[in-house]
Symmetry: C2
Subunit: 378 residues, 2 copies
């Protein structure tokens, strides 16, 4: 174990990279997918199960946790790790994205944002300093600067104003973060909408501030995949190669493969968990909607070759039945299956990059998805 | 493994008994508590987890399973055990109780009942023969005769009419059951409302038919505990001592202890699972309502001495938080904790009966419940 935060690049294959983030709470193999534990729980999963899928790190949402149960309460109870019974690394977002998407936003100015809780309507203030303070109270190993994430599409002027504000907030966040124990890391967040010159300016501005890691924010907010990928390609050369790069809120399995091949090291997304609760399974053969009545007599499991019980030990007929009856076990099994598949994909990408066979892996993976669900027995 | 159904009494202590039911699918240690798997799932639990709590046998509800996914479909898919990934014994009820409590009951006569599904309004017929046929299609190891369960209170005439009908249905069920593979068992069900002479007549009539086990039905339907216990005491001497006795739909931890001390061997109840989904935990120190705000800063687990992760590894503050946020994990953990506690109680009773110390065990257990929840730190 280390008492500092560090990143080692182990291998590259084209722009794709594999490496290891070391933190006092454990190591994170990259490229890494972080399951989302919004309210101090990955919905429908026991923490030891999440770990067993291969997750090295979870994401917690500052906005949700500051409202319930409250950052000071979590701190009194020994921090987020103990609270949720997850002793490995936790990354928290700044809360900014959800302040802007979930709450009744009241006022945004240079100092920060004032917003109304979507839970009980109470007013809260969030500044770069308060966001970092909350993340510190939670005890997050990797923290995010407060930023302003504009909706796409937007005018260039609007994207630039938000990007410049985010840069100034990056500096304030970094200063506030200095009060925290060693071994934690604060990442800066690249903004700039879909405007290449703004993205470059943002990345350069942040690199000048010398963060231990860089996030790319403001993507995966509804724009086409090619816009997202173009922005990654634009930003990548301006991010220090020796530091991890985190693409926030992404994505589909295809997004992950495409972003890794463009040099991204870290991801988080609610897709595997949320889809699992909505009857959708991600597998080697693409997406399978278990709500569909065609599964009702199908004795095959989702993937009989898998070592995950959720994929291997339950028939499609049974999963369909659970979903039809709105049984919790349906959501539990499909969430488990999806998180397992996502981690399997990350494992596969890491191994392929290390072996210098990433292009082959990518092609074979896409071929599997295109092949589609195995037809039912005649 | 055996290829027949049998019951061995190992020890008695007063009227309390401990023994072993052997079936081709595994052994059932008695007294046994059977978790309820209504729709082919114990709500919120993986089957291997249910087993790990100490459950030897599950209960499936014929009424629910005949409607969804349908008995013929389950049979085509290899039977209920394979369908729900539970290879150990399964007991099914006859469907009669839920036909009468959940469905739009249309007609009951000598031949059987016609009812309207609560799911889709479709009409279904249920006779003693069809109930046994469905339970056979499901592949249940222990099956129940169709009976008529009257609501309490009712007139003696009504209780007698239903009891006599149930006796005639017992005979028809037994005849229909002869078509099934060896190694399965059909239990007769004692009825007779709260009228001792009717209960005795029912028990004697069933004993004359020589079933491999006897259920006591029509109790735990809202009557005071003393009425239920009095009926058990009335019936017990008339049930063959060499056969298992199953008290249907019971009950609270206190009901279990009191019924075991009166000679009952088997139980099922939704209480531990349903209560778990409603924030109520059963523990050595009685019931704990985790919804209560007094838990919000309480770092103590439900029972730090337990070997069940749900009881040991999560603080009351965290459980309270999960419930407040309506997170699935709250229901999952409390269901797990409750099933573990119920099985712990059964283990304790079996050991105490074997050791001849059941009275002491009962007194100590009740003392724990009376002691109440440990006070929070000052």
């Amino acid at each position: 174990m280390t008492d500092t935060f560090s990143f080692q690049l182990h291998a590259t294959d084209g722009a794709a990279r594999t490496g290891l983030i070391s933190t006092p709470r454990g190591e994170i193999r990259t490229p890494a997918f972080m399951p989302v534990g919004t309210a101090a729980t990955v919905k429908g999963m026991y923490p030891e199960q999440v770990r067993a899928t291969g997750a090295d790190v979870l994401l917690g949402n500052t906005y949700h946790l500051m409202l319930r149960p409250g950052a000071e309460r979590v701190a009194e109870l020994g921090g987020l790790h103990r609270f949720m019974n997850w002793e490995r690394p936790i990354l928290t977002d700044s809360g900014g994205f959800q302040v802007m998407s979930l709450s009744g936003l009241r006022k945004l100015d240079e100092s920060g944002v004032t917003f109304r809780s979507h839970v009980d309507g109470a007013m809260h203030e969030m500044s770069p300093e308060r966001s970092v303070e909350i993340q510190g109270l939670l005890g997050a190993d990797i923290q995010m600067q407060l930023d302003e994430c504009v909706r796409l599409p937007c005018t260039d002027e609007e994207a630039e104003r938000a990007m410049r504000l985010s840069l100034r907030w990056a500096e304030r966040s970094k200063r506030a973060f200095e009060a925290q124990p060693k071994g934690r890391a604060l990442f800066g967040i690249v903004q700039g909408g879909a405007v290449p010159r703004l993205r470059v300016a943002s990345a350069q501005g942040l690199a000048d501030l010398d963060f231990p890691g860089y996030s790319i924010g403001g993507l995966a907010v509804g724009e086409p995949q090619e816009v997202m990928l173009a922005m990654i390609e634009t930003v990548e050369p301006h991010l220090p190669a020796a530091k991890p790069r985190y693409l926030m809120g992404v994505g589909t399995p295809d997004d992950l493969v495409e972003a890794v091949s463009r040099g991204i090291d870290m991801f988080d997304c609610v897709m595997p968990t949320r889809s699992g609760r909505h009857a959708l399974a991600f597998t080697r053969f693409g997406k399978i909607n278990l709500k569909n009545a065609r599964h009702q007599n199908d004795p095959r499991p989702l993937d009989e070759t898998s070592d995950c019980p959720a994929l291997r030990d339950y028939s499609r007929a049974y999963l369909h039945h659970l979903i039809r009856c709105e049984e919790m076990l349906g959501s539990m099994l499909l969430t488990w299956a999806n998180l397992h598949y996502y981690q399997d994909l990350m494992r596969g990408m890491r191994a392929a990059i290390a072996a210098g066979t990433f292009a082959d892996f990518k092609a074979a993976t896409k071929e599997g998805w295109a092949q589609g669900d195995i037809p039912a027995r005649p």
